[in-house]
Amino acid sequence: MGKRTPLYDSHVRLGARMVEFAGFDMPVQYSSILEEHAAVRERAGLFDVSHMGQIHLSGPEAVSACERLLSCEVASLRPGRVRYGLLCNEQGGVVDDVTLYRIADDELMLCVNAANIDKDRDWIEGHAGAASVEDRSDATAMLALQGPAAPGVLGGLAGPAAGEIRRFRFSQLDVAGVPARVSNTGYTGAPGYELYFDAARAPELFDRLLDAGQDAGLCPAGLGARDTLRLEAALPLYGHELSDDISPLAAGLERFVKRKQGGFIGAEAIEERARAGHPEELVGFELLGRGIARAGHAVLCDERPSGRVTSGAPSPTLGRSIGLAYVRPEAAAEGTLLGIEVRKRLLEARVVETPFVRKRGS
């Protein structure tokens, strides 16, 4: 049995199928992955993501510590704003991918992957200098309210202030009587919010949100739909597209790396690896016929081994199979035909532009 989020009993009551993920017992689906996926694309879904970690850095050295720890610019991030970034190691690999919240001039919060909480905390403590580091993961509940109906649902419980939070910004709001840090962010490629609040209030707020969203077609959504949604948006998943060995540049995350400024852990190694040339680059692909390519499947180009699939699934929105793969640079150009070896058969695939599915209206 794994660790439980404060919403474990709520999931069981809703009839969720529970699976172990990153050491936690988590809902993989309530009704059906395809239905929950469609709910988020067309209406809204509510995800328990309380398994994710929150690590706070504070004190006069907090900004400089984060500037050293993270690939993204930190000093330019104003309070109330969020930025995506990478914690890199000395070899230019990725310790974790995180979202960084500037809570105050001298306080920052990193939202980190569940599987990496302990590793990240140790890494941050080891490199934070005089900044104070606090892991508030267990005390913090986190919900993701995602989908085109999310603003209306949140507005109903938090008032008009919710509608004023622009993309990649956050506010402290009262949501149905529960104080919550609400950011206009997510991991689905849909509009929506992430809410951070006291773990003790989780069952109450989860139910209030589901009730408030009932007319709008909000439904609880599990990790299964979260994965197909993030894949359609071509958002990387640590352990699949990112690892301690992979450079963020090979993963296509250059815009989250302060290459000119440098000065963060791993900056020199990242540049050195870029000069040497990355042996493989991350690309998106779609299958031309039936079947599903999955993580670990070999990729061929011109009948030669050319890489491996890191994530793959049927895209419910597109009605065909999609995936991400690391391939040799000569196979990375858009339109390149690939073969993907699935149970000793070759499925035809083509390198395509990502994201596979774009946000409505953008």
Binding site: V28, I33, R290, I292, A313, P314
Partner: protein, 133 residues
């Protein structure tokens, strides 16, 4: 235990397939328990007419959004037909696993093999054991 249907006119395997002899046609598929465990079925690889399947051995593959599972033959036989509807509508396996979502029609070669299979009440107990475990 969750709510499952296991028709009494089918025989069942430990790998969660059913097989049914109806007049002169024998069909097989996956059980209600199996389809609920799998979740949304999105793709199947099935043998063609004329292929042989052998009791206890994999004869095909079923994929849900999240997972890939082998399909095991409940009895030995020759494939008469694989369900042509599943290519376009694999979700029939979820919607109607004993009827519209059948996988194969076969000609069994050894009637005695059916004796090694479970009836619906034995299979129900077998599912319950695993649910509790």
């Amino acid at each position: 235990m969750a709510n499952y249907t296991f028709p009494s006119d089918c025989f069942y395997t430990k790998e969660d397939e059913w097989v049914q002899v109806d007049d002169d046609r024998t069909t097989l598929g996956i059980t209600d328990y199996a389809q609920q465990q799998l979740g949304d079925v999105v793709f199947l690889e099935l043998p063609s007419a004329g292929d042989e399947i052998k009791q206890g051995e994999p004869f095909g593959v079923i994929e849900s959004v999240k997972a890939v599972s082998d399909l095991y033959a409940p009895v030995t036989g020759r494939v008469v037909e694989s369900n042509p509807a599943l290519e376009e509508t694999p979700e029939l396996v979820n919607e109607s696993c004993y009827e519209d979502g059948w996988l194969l029609a076969i000609e069994p070669t050894d009637e005695s093999e059916f004796e090694s299979l479970m009836n619906s009440s034995a299979y129900r107990d077998y599912v319950a054991e695993r649910e509790e475990g």
